[in-house]
């Protein structure tokens, strides 16, 4: 502990109630209580990632139920009401339980390491942010066992389905969303404070790695968007229980307003789930192209532009609510405008790879797959953004195909890429490359068999969220289900590869896992120590480790 503590630092110490004397220069506390009490960013990152992984498996199991029911036309396995509970909880668990916590986990592990900080700015709050999650997740899942069943109104919980016509358990759903929101907001505050406050003194904002930049911007999106979601569910709560009529026309309210409020949150939310992915890919591609990231500052500006625009395009989810032509045109043009900064990013990734000395280790495979498949999702997004075309596409499987390309082959693939990229540094051991490559091809083929035919189903008019369908949709649904089961199985293999790496992986030797990787996170030894950066890195180290400035002629 330095003796130059200023007033402000005292203040911070008070805020986080964290005394940095007692967890200094020694390893983790023995026993299970370590995980409950921990304020160490690496421990908390690990907790987040395992939590996200278990939610991924549960949400995945629900998806298997959905695909099994849709394997053939007709009602075979489950009741329609249960089918609806599956689609609803699948969406909610994946968005709020898997993707978002996984990114927060990566932020916890990586941000302090990448900016040369000792820990997060508010370690005690960090502990709370995590420990709220298992309770929220359990409460959400427990609704399935309640009388009347769990929520069955879709992850978008439109009123009045979620108010007047919803099951009793909806109040538990509402409370769970409140808790999830609290967790995300606290996590976001922590990220902002860490990046702005704890950076190595010699690291300027434009020295920061792109993962840190994208997370900083994501955190701002979170503190603006999540409270609006909290507002929406609070209105639902009072409409349901306290006689207000926010969304009830008989009391002077308006159900369409629910959709405005929800999507004012919802569209920024989809960017919350993709901006950190952009950051991850921007770290991995330079490593395996052995070239600095092309167009670093344009990446930063593009991310900020996407974030700002994301607050003014929500109407593209509502083209069919009876919006006047002026509104449709505005939301259509604003939506299409977003593809400009998105295109800049794709261009920069491709240009980084251009004439690089490419090698295709597993993280790079996932990153390249991300670039290609996310772009497909972006293109279908553009089609949906065209108001007159959306009349045909809306609420069909085309939308389902779109958002699974951006969320599964986009957000989720980037998370898998990040785990393969950083896991060797987290645990000092290497995974089995051969198995990992087999797993990659298995997943990549099956995921396309799963989601690509859904484009055709949607164009042919198959509605989403329906347990039965007419005969002309049978073939593509069967193909999609087969792809789905194969993709589901691939996660068993992924679990094996990761556990095998942690338990029996070959120790990483000779400095860093990837010989061409740059970044402060690689300077702390083969295996990250429990405490890092007791002294902040020097300006020279920061520049030498930059993954976006050219190092040519320096050897």
């Amino acid at each position: 502990m330095s003796t130059t503590t200023t007033d402000l630092q005292d203040e911070i110490e008070k805020i986080d109630g964290h005394d940095s004397h007692d967890d200094h220069h020694h390893g983790p506390e023995p026993g299970l209580l370590r995980w409950v009490k921990t304020t160490n960013h690496k421990d908390i990152g690990t907790l987040y990632i395992w939590f996200a992984f278990s939610m991924l498996l549960i949400g995945g199991a629900f998806a298997m139920v959905i695909r099994a029911e849709l394997f053939q036309p007709g009602l075979q396995l489950v009741e329609p009401q249960f089918f609806n509970q599956m689609t609803t909880l699948h969406g909610l668990i994946m968005v709020f339980g898997a993707i978002m916590p996984a990114f927060v986990g990566l932020a916890n592990w990586q941000i302090p390491l990448m900016i040369g900080a000792k820990d997060m700015a508010l370690p005690r709050m960090n502990n709370w942010s995590f420990w709220i999650l298992p309770f929220a997740g359990t409460m959400l899942l427990s609704t399935l066992f309640m009388q009347g069943g769990g929520p069955a109104f879709g992850w978008t919980f439109y009123a009045p389905l979620s108010t007047t016509f919803a099951p009793e358990s909806t109040d538990f759903f509402i409370f769970a969303v409140h808790m999830l929101g609290f967790s995300s907001i606290m996590g976001a505050i922590n990220v902002i404070a860490t990046i702005l406050n704890m950076r190595a003194p010699d690291m300027k904002l434009m020295d920061m790695p792109l993962f840190v930049w994208t997370w900083l911007i994501t955190a701002f999106l979170l503190i603006a968007a999540m409270p609006v979601l909290a507002g929406a569910v609070t209105m639902m709560l009072t409409d349901r229980n306290f006689g207000t009529s926010f969304f009830d026309a008989s009391g002077g309210g308006d159900p369409v307003m629910f959709q405005h409020i929800f999507w004012f949150f919802g569209h920024p939310e989809v960017y919350i789930m993709i901006l950190p992915a952009f950051g991850i890919v921007s770290q991995i591609i330079p490593t395996f192209a052995r070239k600095p990231l092309f167009g670093y500052s344009s990446m930063v500006y593009a991310t900020a532009a996407i974030a700002l625009l994301s607050f003014v395009v929500w109407g593209h989810h509502m083209f069919l609510v009876g919006m006047p032509i002026a509104g449709q045109l505005y939301f259509m043009y604003a939506t299409i405008l977003i593809s400009v900064p998105t295109g800049v990013k794709v261009f920069n990734w491709v240009t980084t790879m251009w004439r690089g000395s490419l090698s295709f280790e597993t993280p790079m495979l996932w990153a390249v797959a991300f670039v290609i498949l996310f772009t497909i999702g972006g293109l279908s997004g553009l089609m949906l953004g065209i108001a007159p075309a959306d009349i045909q596409y809306h609420d069909t499987y085309f939308v389902v195909a779109h958002f699974h390309y951006v969320l599964v082959t986009g957000a989720l693939f980037s998370i898998i890429a990040a785990v393969f990229y950083w896991l060797p540094m987290w645990c000092g051991r290497m995974y089995n490359e051969k198995l990992a490559v087999i797993h990659f091809w298995w997943a990549i083929i099956s995921v396309n068999v799963l989601f690509f035919p859904q484009h055709f189903l949607g164009l042919a008019g198959m509605p989403r969220r329906i347990p039965d369908y007419s005969l002309q949709f049978a073939d593509f649904n069967m193909i999609s289900s087969i792809g789905g089961f194969a993709f589901g199985l691939s996660f068993i293999m992924l679990t094996y590869i990761i556990v095998d790496c942690i338990r029996n992986g070959k120790p990483v030797e000779g400095g860093r896992a990837w010989e061409s990787a740059r970044g402060l996170e690689w300077t702390q030894g083969e295996k990250a120590q429990y405490h890092s950066f007791d002294t902040p890195p020097s300006r020279a180290t920061i520049l030498a480790e930059s993954s976006h400035i050219s190092h040519e002629g320096q050897h």
């Binding site: 502990m1 330095s2 130059t4 200023t6 402000l8 630092q9 203040e11 911070i12 805020i15 940095s20 040369g116 900080a117 000792k118 907001i185 505050i189 902002i192 404070a193 702005l196 406050n197 704890m198 950076r199 190595a200 003194p201 503190i223 603006a224 968007a225 999540m226 409270p227 609006v228 979601l229 909290a230 507002g231 929406a232 609070t234 209105m235 006689g243 009529s245 926010f246 009830d248 026309a249 008989s250 009391g251 002077g252 308006d254 369409v256 307003m257 405005h260 409020i261 004012f264 009876g322 919006m323 006047p324 032509i325 002026a326 509104g327 950066f533 002294t535 902040p536």
Partner: protein, 184 residues
């Protein structure tokens, strides 16, 4: 901790925690803002609830506009309710009166509120009502049929391309009965 930049002020911490609170409040602010926005722009097919003085009209005999009347009772609202005329050809600017018929088929008194809506949305602000049963809550005594008038005109400034307007009413059971109606 020696690697903290100390250039972050207390004010910044305050902002960081207040921002989410403000956005929470913003979600609630969207409720009135949304109504004001619809009122000003006439979007969402919400007709203005203001009554109009009859003098401000100019009559445009060069064209006719067809007005369709429809009605809809919410589930759980046991009042039979329909327009006495389904369709009317109107001259923009001229005053018309038409009536809706309603009968409470249940055995209890019911208080309802009609919500008007005009399609296309762009026509909403040109469809002006001088008198309407939708301005107040209506009380329906059991088994008593009533006729409810609407006095309206279509503003002659209405876009020439709009030749057809639909006026629809949706009757809902009232949750919060206003004081004047409750006394009846």
């Amino acid at each position: 901790m020696n690697n903290r930049n100390s250039n972050i002020s207390k004010a910044f911490w305050a902002k960081l925690f207040i921002t989410p609170v403000l956005f929470f409040a913003f979600a609630f602010a969207m409720v009135p803002l949304y109504d004001i926005f619809c009122e000003i722009t006439g979007l969402n097919g919400k007709t203005s609830s203001a009554t109009y003085a009859a003098e401000t009209r100019t009559i445009d005999t060069s064209r006719k506009v067809t007005v369709d009347f429809t009605s809809f009772s919410n589930p759980g609202f046991p009042v039979k309710f329909y327009p006495m005329v389904k369709k009317l050809e109107v001259i923009p600017g001229k005053l018309y009166t038409m009536t809706y018929y309603a009968e409470n088929r249940s055995d209890t008194k019911i208080v309802g509120q009609a919500i008007p809506s005009v399609a296309p949305g762009l026509a909403a602000s040109y469809f002006k009502k001088l008198e309407c049963f939708c301005f107040n809550q209506q009380t329906f005594e059991p088994k008593v049929p009533i006729e409810m008038p609407v006095r309206f005109f279509v503003d002659s400034d209405l876009d020439k391309n709009i030749k057809n307007i639909t006026l629809s009413y949706n009757f809902l059971k009232v949750k919060n009965v206003t004081k004047e109606v409750a006394k009846l």
